[in-house]
């Protein structure tokens, strides 16, 4: 449907950022970002602190004016609109609940500013408090609530106006681990039920992986990769994304032979030629990186028979038993440490491997990620 200018088809992106930049003096917080988010998506912006993700979110909410670029929401250019004019609501990292108002008053505030009739305010507030399970706290003041309850007040207050987009700044960072896991699923259910587009900013990759339909990995004001959690984890575009999301073993080397969508890489770190699959056309002598996730690697005391797999000998340097899985740190002959994780499928009193055992680690070529950038 390229070239279709009819805005009612729903084929246009719901949120669109065009060449968006923000400079603070000489510091470039957001650097010509382009992004399209579809209606009803739960989109995460993932990055370490200081990468510009919060600035990006605050530009979408209207608290920061972009240095250049435009922001479109549902086909309307909102770049010059004030925060109170945008069809967007935000949930703040500190929750920013008004301490001098009851839960009920906090939630009703946005509707009162919209001059909604008293009766409708009442029904809508009680509906949304029902949804976040806070009905019995409606007359309480914020200082009588726990962290998780405050988080739900903030969520209810932002949702009650039925915004087109809900922006969430580190929504779960202030909660403890157990509550965080529970709330993650609650957030997803609410998003599913209301069909509002969510844009979440987070530094917690696990949170981003579980919650999102798509993730943008951000670094130094730019997007390194935008994709589904699976794409970002299994098919990282570059070294930064591969290293940032989860754990990964990387072997630097040069292409020795290439052809048939498969390359052989000579790597001093590995001590043996590594095989990788790639669609890209590579020339001999090009520097590449072969990356393998710890859970994709097999570990055994005997040399595996399959000749196609990459196989490297090493010694168990360290091991950790986690119950459901074991983590191994294997020192190769080159001195390189490789991390391997293995599921503990069998129940046995004896440990399978011990420190200083001689082992072979192997993986099939399709498990190896070929990175050039």
């Amino acid at each position: 449907m390229t070239g279709n200018t009819n805005k009612n088809t729903g084929s246009h992106p719901f949120i669109e950022l065009k060449d968006l930049s923000k400079h603070f003096g000489d510091f470039v917080a957001v650097d010509t970002v382009n992004l399209q988010i579809g209606r009803g998506e739960l989109f995460s912006i993932l990055g370490a602190s200081g990468c510009g993700k919060t600035t990006l979110l605050r530009m979408m909410a209207g608290f920061e004016t972009p240095t250049s670029g435009r922001i479109f929401i549902d086909g309307v250019d909102v770049t010059d609109q004030a925060p109170y004019q945008r069809p967007v609501n935000m949930m703040f990292q500190s929750y920013a609940i008004f301490p001098h108002m009851t839960v009920e008053k906090n939630v009703a505030y946005g509707l009162e500013k919209d001059r909604v009739s008293k009766g409708e305010i009442k029904t809508r507030v009680s509906e949304i408090l029902e949804l976040v399970q806070l009905t019995r706290f409606s007359k309480r003041k914020p200082n009588q609530l726990s962290g998780g309850e405050r988080q739900r007040v903030a969520l209810a207050r932002a949702l009650v106006k039925r915004p087109k987009v809900l922006l969430l700044d580190e929504p779960l960072a202030a909660l403890d681990k157990k509550l965080r896991e529970h709330t993650q699923f609650e957030l997803m259910n609410i998003q599913d039920e209301l069909g509002i587009t969510f844009v979440v900013v987070t530094h917690d990759q696990e949170e981003a992986m579980i919650l999102s339909s798509r993730i943008a990995v951000m670094e130094k004001g730019r997007f390194e990769q935008v994709g589904t959690p699976k794409e970002v984890y299994e098919y990282p575009d570059n070294r930064f994304v591969a290293d940032f999301i989860g754990t990964i073993n990387m072997f630097e080397g040069t292409v020795e032979t290439a052809g048939d969508g498969s390359i052989s890489v000579a790597s001093d770190e590995a001590g043996a030629p590594l095989t990788g699959l790639t669609d890209r056309i590579m020339e001999n002598g090009v520097k590449v990186c072969i990356a393998v996730r710890p859970e994709k690697i097999f570990i055994s005391q005997h040399e595996p028979e399959n000749q196609e797999d990459t196989c490297l000998p090493g010694v168990v340097e360290d091991l950790g038993y986690f119950g459901n899985l074991s983590l191994y740190r294997i020192r190769l002959d080159s001195g390189k440490i490789v991390q391997v994780s293995a599921q503990n499928r069998r129940r046995s009193a004896e440990r399978f491997l011990e420190w200083d055992d001689r082992v072979f680690i192997s993986w099939p070529p399709r498990s190896a990620i070929v990175l050039t950038e």
């Binding site: 920013a96 008004f98 001098h100 505030y109 500013k113 932002a158």
Partner: protein, 277 residues
């Protein structure tokens, strides 16, 4: 050893308190002195209090001082709050440093200079536009507001910088226009600081002698000015009575303020306990 130290500490404490409170106590005691001579005890009497209440000069001065203090405190709180908001919520606007410096300067300016410059201002204004026609309530109130406002600004600014700015952003995000947000969110949250600022401005104005002396005219004597001019002619027992009444007034206000603050604190603690349950 321990006992000795504690005796030493106690005597230092006693000396300190004695130094501070014996003069006050003697003022109170001598206010009940029947003798006309301020330093000779002539038996117990409350006649100086009666005389004080019949002395129109004193009553007028006290009433003028109160009117000035209330007006000053109110205007200083309004302007000081506005200045404090400008300094802590409007970012780094052009001329911010200059503005901050000029707002705060009355705090460090010698009172004599402030008083003299304001007097010169009022005189030239009178020559130019005929206002103020005479110096008194209006000129003293303006002068007091200019320096009391500096104190209020500092209090409001420190309260605002301790307040999470995302509260105001959240209100704006929910559809509140900036001015509406000030009344809905900012002012209720800084109300305690505004009350503190008002009380401070009130006290400063009530207390001021130097600036008031400069900018006042004939017939416009505040209470401190009256006391000072009376003492120049010698300490009379009715001054002791007046001082006693002021001490009583101040003590009661302090106790009321302290009690109100303790109640507020208890309420907060109670809320915290409920939250922890």
């Amino acid at each position: 050893m321990n006992r000795k130290t504690s005796r030493f500490v106690l005597s230092v404490l006693a000396f300190g308190y004695a130094f501070l409170y014996i003069p006050l106590a003697s003022v109170i005691v001598y206010s009940f002195n029947d003798s006309r001579l301020a330093t000779v005890w002539g038996g117990f009497s409350t006649r100086w209090y009666g005389e004080l209440l019949r002395n129109e000069q004193v009553l007028d001065a006290a009433f003028l001082s109160l009117r000035i203090a209330v007006t000053t405190a109110t205007f200083a709180t309004i302007f000081g709050t506005m200045a404090g908001m400008a300094l802590s919520r409007f970012g780094g606007f052009r001329g911010r440093t200059l503005f901050a410096g000029m707002i705060i300067s009355p705090l460090v300016m010698p009172e004599v200079i402030t008083g003299l410059s304001l007097l010169l201002l009022f005189i030239s204004l009178q020559q130019l536009i005929g206002w103020p026609a005479h110096r008194g309530f209006t000129t003293i109130t303006i002068a007091h507001t200019t320096f009391a406002m500096a104190y209020v600004t500092v209090i409001i600014q420190s309260r605002l910088s301790g307040m999470d700015q995302s509260l105001e952003e959240a209100a704006m995000d929910l559809g509140g226009r900036p001015l509406r947000v000030v009344f809905d969110i900012t002012l209720p949250l800084i109300a305690p600081a505004m009350v503190a600022g008002w009380l401070l401005a009130f006290t400063l104005s009530l207390d001021d002698l130097v600036i008031a002396t400069f900018v006042s005219g004939p017939g416009g004597s505040t209470l401190p000015m009256l006391i000072f001019s009376k003492v120049k002619l010698g300490v009379t027992p009715d001054i002791n009575a007046l001082a006693t009444l002021i001490i009583l007034f101040v003590s009661i206000s302090v106790i009321v303020a302290w009690y109100a603050m303790r109640r507020m604190q208890r309420q907060t603690e109670k809320n915290m306990q409920t939250a922890a349950k």
